[in-house]
Amino acid sequence: MENFTPWTSLAGGALLGLSAALLMLFSGKIAGISGVIGGLLSPKKHESSWRAAFLTGMVLSVLIVAPLGFSLPDISGENILLVSFAGLLVGFGTRLGNGCTSGHGIIGMGRFSKRSIYATIAFMASAIVMVFVRSLFGAV
């Protein structure tokens, strides 16, 4: 519990909500990251430029938060094979399930969408089980 950071997490979360609201209010789009990327890989007319701009903003965001004293954590100790396998599952699962923590967890939940509520419960439960199984092997 020594890592408990309620205030920065709340503030960061509020930024996510603000971003999703702005994108939807101004251009009618959904700030679901798996969807933004997925749409670029199977492009439709008028659907690529805003996605590219959105992802550019995301990649550059590390520069915006630097003056505020926030930086990316050191993750160099992670196992690259495990991370790569996880990437395959995350990419495949989010496309199949039509959303991830942002699309279902924020926008869908905020819209009280039944599909998103079920999906959020399913991926949370699955992730908790996965971490529990890993802890049995002493990997957490």
Binding site: N3, F4, T5, T8, L10, A11, G12, G13, A14, L15, L16, G17, S19, A21, L22, L23, M24, L25, F26, S27, G28, K29, I30, I33, I37, S49, A53, F54, G57, M58, V59, S61, V62, L63, I64, P73, I75, I80, V83, A86, G87, L88, V90, G91, G93, T94, R95, G97, N98, C100, S102, I106, G110, R115, Y118, A122, M124, S126, A127, V129
Partner: protein, 158 residues
């Protein structure tokens, strides 16, 4: 360039920057924190509950009080949310597979993109694998790529 296209690109960039900043500030980019949040039977770190809480506290009222009352977005574009309300196996299995990957490494798509600037090959490996996974899923959904045990997707209904 039309006005609506300018709005789409400018707002896309601004909201992307805000989104990435939110991911970094909230701690979602830290896999140790994500695993600590998911580790409910161990040394549970509830911080990331506040991420969803903060996001929903801002998005939900704006959506229900402002966005929902409009016919189109400010740019004149139609809202792109889905009208699909069916809870099917594709949705649930997709979410379960995603959750397994999330619990395995502690990364989900948003934090991964926001972490590209961090300079580790770990995140690049994750993002590339994720792109491969997305392509496979698109192929499977189009009925062109068989899955182990499941085979080709049947082309009926959704």
């Amino acid at each position: 360039m039309s006005k609506s296209k300018k709005i789409r690109i400018l707002i896309g960039f601004i909201s992307g920057a805000l989104f990435g900043a939110g991911m970094i500030i909230s701690g979602m980019v830290d896999p140790t924190k994500v695993i600590g949040f998911l580790n409910v039977t161990g040394d549970w770190d509830p911080s990331l509950m506040f991420v969803m809480g903060g996001a929903l506290a801002v998005f939900t009222p704006i959506y229900h009080l402002v966005i929902k009352k409009r016919k189109t977005a400010i740019s004149g574009d139609a809202f792109t949310w889905t009208t699909n309300t069916t809870i099917d196996g594709t949705l649930i299995w997709g979410a379960i597979i995603f959750g397994a990957g999330w619990g395995l490494a502690g990364f989900c798509p948003g934090p991964a993109i926001a972490s590209i600037g961090g300079g580790t090959n770990i995140i690049l490996a994750f993002v590339l694998s994720m792109l491969v996974g997305i392509v496979h899923a698109n192929q499977y959904l189009a009925g062109r790529f068989p899955l182990p045990f499941v085979g080709y997707r049947k082309q009926c209904g959704s």
